[in-house]
Amino acid sequence: MIQQAMWLARKEIKQQFVPFLFTMAVTSFFATATTLQLSMAVEYIFGEGSTDYKSLFLDLIFLLITPSFAAIFMSSPYLTFRTIKEDPFSKRMALFRALPISIKTLALSRIIIMLITFLSLSIIFYLIISIGLTQLSPTYLTPMEWMSFMVFWFGYALAIGGYNSFIEYGTNGRVLYIVPTIILLSFFLFWYFFRRITDRSVVELSLLMIKEYQWIPAITFLLIGIAGCTFWYYLLSNRLRRRDYL
């Protein structure tokens, strides 16, 4: 089963090679923009930097964008409203469903695609930021603390990111557009109240937490990430067993 799922995942990613490259390019752009803001945030929290940095932008990147690394978000279904009507992900699944592929293999292949995409984009994202930060603010975070910070957010995004596979293959084109819109609106509401209550942004708090507890939050979130990934696999399997594909 694993071998078959791997084969299918590799095949599909190969088919999506050009959109994958574009997604990598956009991720690099996000990483570059994040580096500067994160460097300013680190200076502000641990040094004597100014408060004049975009905390909303950082929270948006880490809370919303990093889970999106689980999807090839520069592929055509994400870039055109035709997706709402044409539902390309379900159509692909309809073909697979007509072939002798078990539901478990099908669901696993989706999770493998998600993981390959997520790992590739996360590596690019954090690599660019790591290189950038060593140039900009080398003294405030030790390499270990920076590693913990990355693992912390990697774990978070891994836990949430599986929802992309569920939405893409478990629902339809309309939901693919509606859910992100709801999430975005919820994020702004959450962010507004969070900021008012704690007087900090989420990323600021995560930096403080890492400074104080070192690896503990990172390992915790990594485990949550792995558990989340497993959860999405079972949820997707269940959904694929019951859903209509056309």
């Binding site: 088919q15 390309p88 692909r92 309809a94 073909l95 007509a98 002798p100 592929i101 539901i103 594909y245």
Partner: protein, 288 residues
């Protein structure tokens, strides 16, 4: 000996604006079933339910006496389906598409695939999305038949296909059926396909089977009868399908029964003519 290849019992599904079923039917080994009906009558829906592309609300499907749900993947090893699903991959070539599909079949015959590509003049380098409707249909047909399935399910296979290739498809389906161990269900609007390929006709209307009959029975029983007189008892006879008063013609779906009744009523048959399948279909499909 079990001669039933596929058995469908109580299959149904509710959609927002359409209710499919309840549908019951059997497909015997060695037979070709033609599924006919107007557009939107539920032919494609039936196929999608058979293949679990749509999830049925109720019903049981057995394949060679085994519940299909027990080993869905194994069931699909024995089924070939051509039903407009390949459009989901317009950005890959026919060669890539065939590779992606053939991988899953234990019995895939690559030589047979090559033979068919040559026979239907398929350029494998073409991206599927750039192919004409006819070529897409031919590719679907080829990909559905090369793993030596026990059951071939074809959804309007020749729609948009050139005449020469339609003839080839017909030949290939006949050849596929030749050893008598396989079955085919074909949804079609082509009288020619029904006439030359099918053994059984199933008529779907509004998601329900309204007629199901052996093609030979149609030739034996359906007829146009010219009579000396038209009486109420004949007009209202259960086997009278249509009456043309001016020319005193009766269309019947059971000539022996009608003949018996006419004899009882002392009405003379002046002339009898068998109906063509195309004419019968007009009567089988209810008018909306």
């Amino acid at each position: 000996m079990n001669t039933s290849l596929l058995s469908v019992e109580g299959l149904s599904k509710d959609f927002k604006y359409f209710t499919f079923g309840t549908v019951d039917f059997h497909v015997e080994i060695g037979t070709v079933v033609a599924l006919i009906g107007e557009n939107g009558s539920g032919k494609s829906t039936l196929f999608r339910l058979l293949l679990n592309i749509l999830h049925a609300d109720e019903g049981k499907i057995t394949f060679f006496g085994e519940d299909r749900q027990v080993d869905d993947a194994q069931f699909k090893q024995s089924v070939g389906y051509a039903g407009n699903l390949l459009d989901a991959f317009p950005y890959i070539s026919i060669k890539e598409l065939s590779h992606m599909i053939s991988y899953w079949y234990d019995n895939w015959n690559e030589d047979r695939y090559r033979y068919f590509c040559e026979r239907y003049a398929i350029d494998e380098r073409m991206k599927f999305g750039r192919c004409s409707t006819g070529i897409k249909k031919k590719v679907e047909f080829i990909l559905s038949i090369c793993h030596n399935p026990k059951l071939l399910i074809l959804d309007e296979p020749s729609s948009g296909v050139d005449i020469k290739s339609q003839r080839k498809m017909k030949e290939d389906i006949i050849e596929f059926m030749e050893d008598g161990t396989r079955s085919t269900i074909i949804a079609t609007h082509s009288v020619d396909e029904i006439t030359h390929l099918s053994d059984i006709l199933i008529v779907l209307h509004d998601g329900k089977i309204v007629n199901s009959m052996n093609k030979d029975d149609i030739y034996e029983n359906w007829a146009r009868v010219w009579v000396s007189d038209l009486k109420e008892s004949i007009i209202n006879h259960t086997n009278t399908v249509d009456v043309m008063y001016d020319s005193k013609q009766i269309i019947t779906n059971h000539l022996p029964n009608l003949e018996q009744m006419l004899t009882t009523e002392n009405i003379t048959i002046t002339h009898t003519q068998s109906l063509k399948i195309g004419e019968v279909i007009d009567y089988l499909i209810p008018q909306n």
